[in-house]
């Protein structure tokens, strides 16, 4: 068994789940601060604030999904690790990078947009639909990165 290949694959899974997760935590934190500020004055806005705060959390889920796919592909979930070369491991690692990097960065920016949208609904509660669409636009790029990582992993065969 080539340990280096397996290690590279695992490192990719860790990056995907870790970086996207960190991004989501930061994004949710930013949106949460804004939500807390609005709710200090207007507790009735809890529902709308919660939805907007949750939006940057999806990148963490995408990262986790890719990590699961990698672990499954490496046979680690079933307890029977596959034998892969270091170059194959490197391919798996590379496949994880789109969701790791884009997930991390887009979650932070989505958090900032969510914070702005929360401030928007504090002044104009009727504009909730518009307020959700703005951070959702950032999500597009996280979804594209997820698709890239997913398709790349699917085409790698051991």
């Amino acid at each position: 068994m080539d340990v280096l290949g397996l290690m590279l694959g695992l490192l990719g899974a860790a990056f995907a789940a870790g970086m996207a997760g960190i991004g989501s935590a930061v994004g949710i934190g930013i949106a949460g601060e804004s939500a807390a500020g609005v709710m200090s004055e207007d507790p009735d806005k809890f529902g709308s604030c919660l939805i907007l705060q949750a939006l940057p959390g999806t990148q963490g889920i995408y990262g986790l999904l890719i990590a699961f796919i990698v672990l499954n592909k490496l046979g680690l979930l079933g307890g029977q690790p596959v034998s892969i070369s270091w170059s194959q491991g490197l391919l798996v690692f590379a496949a994880c990078l789109p969701i790791a990097i884009v997930g991390w960065y887009s979650a932070i920016w989505q958090g900032k947009t969510s914070a702005a949208s929360i401030q928007m609904i504090s002044k104009k509660p009727d504009a909730f639909a518009k307020a959700v669409i703005l951070p959702a636009m950032v999500e597009t790029y996280a979804v594209l990165a997820l698709l890239t990582s997913f398709i790349t992993l699917m085409v790698i065969s051991f």
């Binding site: 804004s34 914070a115 702005a116 002044k123």
Partner: protein, 337 residues
Amino acid sequence: MSYVYAVARLRSMENRFLDASFFARLIDSATLDDALKSLGETVYAQGISGAPDAGGFDRIIDGELIAACDDLKRFVPDKELVDLCRMPHDFNNVKVILKSLFKAREGGERRYDLLSRLGAVDTESLIMALEGEEYGFLPYRLGDVIPRCWSLWEQTKDPQCVETVLDGHLFAAMLELARELEGKLKTGAVTRWVEHKIDAENLRNAVRLQRMGCDPAAALPFFHKGGTIGPGDAARLMGEPLESWSKSLSHTGIGAALEVSQERADVQVTLSEISKALDGYLIRVLEKAKYSTSAPENVILYLLRKEEEARNLRIALVCVANGLNREFARRLLSHGR
């Protein structure tokens, strides 16, 4: 607490600002009681307990401003931003106490009833420090300037000279605090705002001195350093008609604010129109911050709007209480939100 939290909270608090339609209704009130009844339906309700006399509304308005400042101090990461806005009130209090002490030396009466509660420093401690000549206890390095004020008073017996020295020190202290804050905030906007505030004060002084027929060279000591318009430029403006000031200042942002200003027969009308335009300008220079979720200058912007609201309320209530011309009062109101 972070600025994301603070700005979001301020956005919610802004919803409680009184709007233009409220001011229109307030001015149209038949009596002060009716006006106070309308005020009782707003955030100012807390201050209206019992039936205040005609001047009692000042206490209500001041109370709301103090409550707003205290509120902000609880959640704004840099409390100095609130102190920066309250600093002019502290200096105003120092002027009142000093003038009272000058009068007292000549056998006059102390006018501590004119002290404002809006300053960041407790008025009692200011009185104690100034009366007891314990200048070391004074904030904003006022201890360095008070002895100068006393010697100036001894020489000239002119309170205006003392006021000019204190104003100069106020702006220097505001600039110092703003620059200190910029070290942390890294926005540059707070210092720029103080510079524009100095410009606005210099222009107000220029209008007053021009209308008094003061010679530009003699007026130079009344202008303050630190703004984008130097004292020399401000003095030069006095030689020009008011209508051309905006053109002469077109290289600065403040020039556009003066476009509306015209020479009027009544100096008070000219002054109040210019003051209104300059106050509006000082709010506009910070308004870019309203699109940011975490810009610290939003704190100053909120306090300026609150002060604008208080000013509008005072105009409206004085007008109703004294039965003044409603149309005149409407013209004096700044853009009520």
